[in-house]
Amino acid sequence: MSALGVLCRKELHATFTSPIAYAVAAVFLLVTGYTFSLTLFFTKVANLTYIFHQMYVLLILLIPVLTMRAFAEERRADTLELLLTAPVQEVWIVLAKFLAALFLVACLLAASGAYAVVLGLYGEPDWAPIYGGYLALFLLACLLVSIGTLASSLTENQVVAATCSLGACLMLWFADSAAYMVPAPLDAVVINLSLIGHFSTFVSGSLFLSDAGYYLTLSLLALFLTTRVVTDR
């Protein structure tokens, strides 16, 4: 675990010394802050459902940008050779990159918690959908970061990594639409692959283990595949 700590520190340092992190944070907070203010002024309703759906879209668009460097940059600069010849398990290298990116996204979500505080101070919001929404966004971030890390491990070109990651996330988002073209009982499987289907139940305040299981299972699968890609030399 000591190696994981050392690697996490290095990844966090790399994340927070890169302008990409600040650009992503600025766009995320600016857009959500703008929408929050507008929605609050126009509707005068103390809920964050609209904001959560907007954050869902923003995370799908921004996380591939955040994760594209993870392995692609190490491959381009040949520094992966240093990591992979050190006495460190490959899984720690993958986990460190995953956790560093997830930490940044968690910071963004925590910063956006200011909107909930504002609602709590000046209104009487229903807290269940708010807690559910933040849990859903965190689980969604786990999945998107793990997919982005996997895409980054497959190439040394950051743009290719970001594009593949974005494509995979969009395919998962629209998976339920494709279900209409698939015969039963496969359609149920395809519907259950949909990102938005598992997200909406959380935001409505309903917590199902199956929804959490979906995000966690796919995240672990993507991390496992990333480790396989990194190990296979």
């Binding site: 050392v6 240093l82 460190v88």
Partner: protein, 242 residues
């Protein structure tokens, strides 16, 4: 300073390469190479570009897995006991990969910690290795500001920071100016006896001046292994073999 790894496990060669081949797709980069290196020896791996030198070194460091055969370092199999084997190796790749966003001290400390040294031991090891490669004045410098010569010193320092038994150098004098080349040669010769050094090169004179023995590779095959003391004319030997 080094993490405990059952010292004294071997009496024979510190590096053993037994019938190793590596295929990329259907193409053989290294074919059935068998080679032993003794403790404290400096071995030069000589061959033209594309002869399999880097692939062989990468298999030794554990970066690549052999398609067949086995390699061991300090008695540890590089595949089945790869963590233990890696603790005994320091590696300087040809491209001198370094984290440009870090400062020299920070990078060396990171590499020392990654090799299992605790924070206090890492700090002492960094100071020691920086003095060894004459990096002391540049420890606070950002790596991105360093010249090629200093980048090479940092790369060598990171490979030595955990006091490995075996130092693997891939084309260590590439891109250096004449003075730096001479300094690097002296430095490698200075390590002889204390550490085993395996360095690749495609320059005859380089190997001639530094190595105790030379292994000549061509198209992935090991053509010959000769002691430099018994090889008065390396150029003639190389031409006769290739």
């Amino acid at each position: 300073m080094r993490p405990p790894t059952q010292p004294g496990r071997i009496d024979g060669p510190i590096v053993a390469i037994e019938g190793v081949s590596k295929l990329f797709g259907g193409v053989a980069a290294v074919r059935d190479v068998t080679l032993h290196v003794a403790r404290g020896e400096v071995l030069g791996v000589l061959g033209p570009n594309g002869s399999g030198k880097t692939t062989l070194l990468r298999m030794l460091t554990g970066f690549l897995s052999p398609t067949s055969g086995r390699l061991s370092v300090a008695g540890y199999d590089t595949e089945r006991q790869r963590m233990e084997a890696r603790r005994h190796i320091g590696y300087v790749p040809e491209s001198l990969p370094l984290y440009s966003h870090m400062r020299v001290r920070e990078f060396l400390t990171f590499m020392a910690r990654l090799r299992g040294l605790d924070p206090r031991a890492a700090e002492a090891a960094v100071a020691e290795v920086a003095a060894q490669v004459a990096l002391g004045a540049r420890l606070a410098a950002p790596i991105r500001t360093l010249s090629r010569g200093y980048r090479q010193r940092v790369a060598i320092a990171q490979a030595l920071v955990h006091e490995p038994d075996v130092l693997v150098l891939d084309e260590p004098t590439n891109g250096l100016d004449p003075r730096q080349i001479i300094e690097t040669r002296h430095f490698i010769r200075g390590l002889a006896g204390r550490r085993t050094v395996i360095m690749s090169s495609h320059i005859l004179g380089e190997v001639e001046k530094v190595a105790d023995r030379v292994a000549i590779l061509l198209e992935g095959r090991l053509l010959s292994v000769e002691a430099m003391a018994d090889t008065p004319d390396l150029e003639a030997l190389f031409l006769s073999l290739t």
